[in-house]
């Protein structure tokens, strides 16, 4: 009988967010000036639900994910906002407080399974390492490790405990990482593109595994990805990011079926799976990402937006409700007629 | 009639200008460069810079401390230490140049043989290289001296042989990777001969890093020469060498520290100078070497 409590069902009552991100802003200090990588991010992570963070490369989704576990690079600064988790504000939390949270209430899975595991310790040793806070015996920790290896469907788990990471394939290593993350019974699991480095068939298996285990353990998941199809299949809610801002949030059904923000609409239109008639030219979004050292005045998407009008260039839009829980940061949503 | 102004023609940066520009960012490199230049100049112009004949005895009271007449003092036979140090510098630089040139030449040759020749030759040469590297230089030197007798030539021979494996291995790796490179196979299919390809592709690429490694080996070579001479196995008297100065100093260490100081300071300065210079060269021209060393 495991002595650790199931954290997932302890803290938040349904309806109140497990984690509330309020107007979070993060700058990266570089030699050529600060990069305003994240600006006024507001998100809610609801208990027991999977939130997808989606957007093109460079939109800041990984930076956001790392800030939720306090593992941003040393040149990163949180310059505004809050990350509320229980009674604590994680923005500006000291390293020792972070250490108390990580591997207990918050866990993370990384993108590249080939380099995430310690190459000089066996799988079993690493699974036992992370239980160092438990007062159970080594035998009990080992059997817990075995139990979770079975949950992620590692074949012959007992002998795998004594294997080294380089003796396992990429797909198996990622399963081990998932087992490690869930073994700590976190309330929040952050997954930073966990299937990007895997081929398509492995990706499907890992996604199904994540879904199954999330339902079993009841934790919340923040799932970062640039692949819309995966997010649509796995996640309950989705937040679309562009150039450091969240431009639309809502449930996966509403956002993917009736996207409100022009960027989301363009993203979905670009997905090859959505092409209805035969064409020689794949749709793209023209233009480039803005330079985040000098954030332009007005809406962040103005340079590439097919529905842009004058007000977009003068003021930054607030977050406006679309329908139900769905919201978007766009003037088109704010009122019925576009006023100049 | 107005003449059209064009941008001034900028020749592509030569090795020297690249080096000098890069050097400005490296303070230790500059120090090394200055030290090495001074040492080399002192070695070349030693006869004109020496106030006394380095082998002349009783130019002053024996074992005297530094004074205006004798900048580094005198040794047990009254010889001026400063002049002896300068002359020793000549010997050191000579040994370094001769030994490293020999080692580089032999190393390139053997490395090419190993990399491009038949497999059995490669294995045999590798085994020989490993065997040579198992000999401590001094022990090897002493063994050779048993057979040949002590002399400057012995020192050069010993240092050269023990340095060959390192350079040979590098050339071998380059040659091997070149041998199976696709563009080489293509050129050979068109009739280019292997030696020609070597000359065009391998040697220019590898000469630079080799020279950098060689410059970082200079301190070791000089220390070996000084060491062998200290044990009486190197240069024969009356030729002064830093090692000989140190040996005399050791025998009279209870009487005066100055010969020991005089013999050791140049060795340390040479080591510092070439190490700093070598590292700066490496950082400027080939940062990849940081792993190899």
């Amino acid at each position: 009988m495991s002595a650790s409590i199931s954290h997932a069902s302890s803290s938040a009552t349904p309806g109140t967010p497990l984690m509330q991100i309020d107007a979070l802003s993060v700058d990266f200090d570089t030699a050529s000036g600060p990069i305003h990588a994240l600006r006024h991010i507001s998100l809610s992570v609801m208990p027991g639900r999977i939130l997808g963070l989606v957007g093109e490369s460079g939109c800041g989704k990984s930076s956001l994910a790392y800030s939720l576990i306090g593992l941003l690079d040393t040149n990163a600064r949180i310059c505004g906002g809050a990350i509320r988790f229980g009674e604590q504000d994680l923005a500006g939390l000291s390293e020792s407080h972070w250490q108390a949270l990580r591997g207990r209430r918050i866990a993370m899975i990384f993108q590249d399974p080939m380099t995430s595991l310690n190459p000089v310790r066996t799988i079993g040793q690493q699974l036992i390492d992370i239980q160092y806070r438990d007062r159970t015996s080594r035998v009990q920790k080992r059997s817990r490790a075995l139990e979770f290896l079975e949950q992620v469907r590692i074949p012959d788990p007992a002998s795998r405990l004594d294997s080294y990471p380089h003796e396992l394939s990429g797909g198996m290593r990622q399963r081990v990482c998932i087992a490690m993350a869930l073994l700590t019974r976190p309330e929040l699991l952050i997954a930073d593109e966990p299937t990007t480095a895997l081929d398509a068939t492995l990706e499907v298996q890992v996604i199904h595994l994540l879904r199954e285990l999330q339902q079993k353990h009841g934790c919340s998941v923040v799932f970062v990805s640039h692949h819309l199809g995966t997010v649509a299949e796995l996640c309950d809610d989705v937040a679309v990011m562009y150039a450091g801002e969240v431009v639309e949030t809502g449930s996966v059904e509403t956002v993917f079926r009736t996207p409100a923000h022009p960027y989301t609409q363009a993203l979905l239109a670009c997905d090859p799976a959505s092409i209805r008639e035969a064409t020689r030219v794949l749709p793209t979004i023209p233009g480039e990402l803005p330079d985040l050292r000098q954030v332009p005045q007005g809406c962040i998407f103005q340079a590439r937006c097919p529905q842009v009008f004058d007000r977009c260039r003068q003021r930054s839009p607030d977050i406006y409700p679309v329908q139900g829980e769905q919201v978007a940061r766009c003037f088109r949503v704010a009122s019925e007629e576009p006023s100049p | 009639m107005t003449s059209t102004t064009t941008a001034p023609f900028m020749p592509p940066p030569s090795w020297l200008s690249r080096f000098l520009r890069g050097l400005r960012g490296e303070r230790t490199g500059m120090l090394g460069f200055v030290l090495v230049t001074l040492i080399v100049l002192a070695a070349i112009f030693a006869p004109w810079l020496s106030p006394y004949d380095p082998t002349a005895i009783m130019t002053g009271p024996p074992l005297a401390p530094p004074s205006s007449a004798h900048w580094l003092g005198t040794d047990n036979l009254g010889r001026d230490l400063f002049s002896r140090v300068l002359a020793g510098g000549r010997v050191a630089m000579l040994v370094a140049a001769a030994a490293l040139s020999a080692a580089l030449t032999l190393g390139v040759a053997l490395g090419l043989l190993a990399g491009l020749g038949p497999r059995w030759l490669d294995n045999l040469l590798l085994l020989i290289f490993d065997a040579i590297r198992s000999f401590p230089v001094i022990v090897f030197g002493l063994a050779v001296v048993t057979l040949v007798g002590p002399s400057l030539f012995t020192v050069v021979l010993v240092v050269a042989i023990t340095s060959v494996p390192i350079y040979a291995r590098i050339i071998r790796t380059q040659a091997q990777s070149l041998r199976s490179a696709e563009f080489v196979l293509a050129e050979r299919a068109m009739g280019a001969s292997l030696p020609r390809l070597l000359g065009i592709h391998v040697l220019p690429n590898v000469l630079g890093p080799l020279l950098i490694l060689a410059s970082m080996d200079v301190p070791l070579v000089i220390a070996t020469e000084a060491g062998l001479s200290f044990l009486g196995m190197g240069v024969r008297p009356p030729t002064p060498s830093w090692g000989v100065i140190l040996n005399d100093g050791y025998n009279f260490i209870r009487n005066s520290p100055w010969p020991v100081v005089a013999g050791s300071v140049p060795i340390v300065l040479v080591t510092l100078g070439f190490t700093f210079l070598g590292e700066a060269l490496r950082d400027i021209f080939d940062p990849r070497l940081q792993k190899a060393n």
């Binding site: 990384f110 995430s116 595991l117 390492d129 | 085994l127 000999f135 401590p136 022990v139 050779v144 510092l272």
Partner: protein
């Protein structure tokens, strides 16, 4: 792991064999005749020929090589030209002194070097790091024999604190006599090891698996020990393994300067006497020990890093 060790052992034996063959071959390629060297310029041709026959120098080269190995494998390393004693006895009598000297030098310089390098990496960029860097470069610039001379000059002649002659009597006195010699040999290695450990630690510290360790809330101590240092220390172990060669060279000087017994002093005195069998025997034993040291360091690395075990 066992197969790896066995393969390495075979390779090492082969290297020793090749090394000794090279040495014997050199006898013939290089001008000069050992018998003449030993007997001096006034020896008669008959005496020279007789000595050559005694030393087996008149046999064809391959026979000489095989003969040498045959005798070695039977435990006979030859006889001292002057006293007639077995070379093996003489060499193995001196060997322990050198081994103790080298072992103590490696032990203290590796320990201090790893600590210094580890500390510098964890405090990279601070003035402590810069200071440690300067100290490292400074110490590795001074060759061991120069350092020995200064050690004698400062601590023995100048201050009179520590002895500079001989190996002492008994354990405690022996240790006191080891202080200056082991210091002289080890000090430049502290710099080498520290720089190597610092560089590889900085590299490993930014590795993804370290970030993952932090993501699971592992303590800094555990991360440094099992996730960083266990990997970062490997190049230093290899460095020391191959460095035994240089350590032996340094030991030769140190034994001469401090008038200590040992293989180094033995070789030097034998060379001065042109005592060719002793030189050959001592070089053989030295080579075997060095090759063994490299083997041990490779095995230690394989112990630390399971990925290396398949790498042969």
């Amino acid at each position: 792991m066992i197969t790896y060790a066995f393969q390495r052992l075979l390779l090492s034996a082969l290297i020793v064999a090749v090394a000794m063959s090279l040495l014997i071959v050199m006898l013939h390629v290089v001008p000069g005749d050992p018998a003449t060297m030993i007997l001096g310029p006034r020896a008669t041709p008959e005496l020279i020929a007789q000595t050559r026959a005694e030393m087996g120098l008149d046999q064809p080269l391959p026979i000489q090589v095989l003969d040498f190995f045959g005798r070695v494998l039977r435990g006979d390393l030859g006889t001292d030209v002057f006293t007639g004693r077995a070379v093996g006895d003489i060499v193995f009598g001196q060997l322990p002194y050198t081994l103790v000297l080298i072992a103590v030098s490696i032990a203290w310089s590796a320990a201090l070097g790893i600590l210094l390098g580890c500390y510098s990496a964890l405090r990279a960029g601070t003035w402590l790091d810069t200071l440690a860097g300067i100290v490292s470069v400074g110490t590795l610039s001074i060759p061991a024999f120069v350092m020995s001379l200064y050690a004698v000059l400062i601590f023995a002649v100048g201050l009179g604190w520590l002895p500079a002659i001989g190996a002492g009597e008994g354990v405690v006195d022996g240790l006191v006599h080891l202080i200056l010699p082991a210091f002289a040999i080890g000090i430049s290695w502290v710099g080498y090891v520290a720089r190597m450990v610092r560089a590889s630690m900085l590299e490993v510290m930014s590795a993804p698996h370290v970030r993952m360790g932090r993501a699971f809330g592992l303590t800094q101590a555990r991360i440094v020990r099992s996730y960083i240092l266990r990997i970062a220390v490997q190049p230093a172990v290899t460095l020391l393994g191959t460095g035994v060669v240089h350590l032996f060279s340094a030991a030769v000087f140190v034994e001469v300067i401090f008038a200590r017994p040992g293989i180094g002093a033995l070789i030097v005195s034998s060379v001065n006497e042109r005592n060719y069998p002793i030189v050959l025997g001592a070089v053989l034993v030295t080579t075997v020990i060095i090759v063994l040291a490299t083997l041990v360091s490779d095995l230690v690395v394989a112990l630390l890093d399971p990925r290396q075990r398949d790498a042969l």
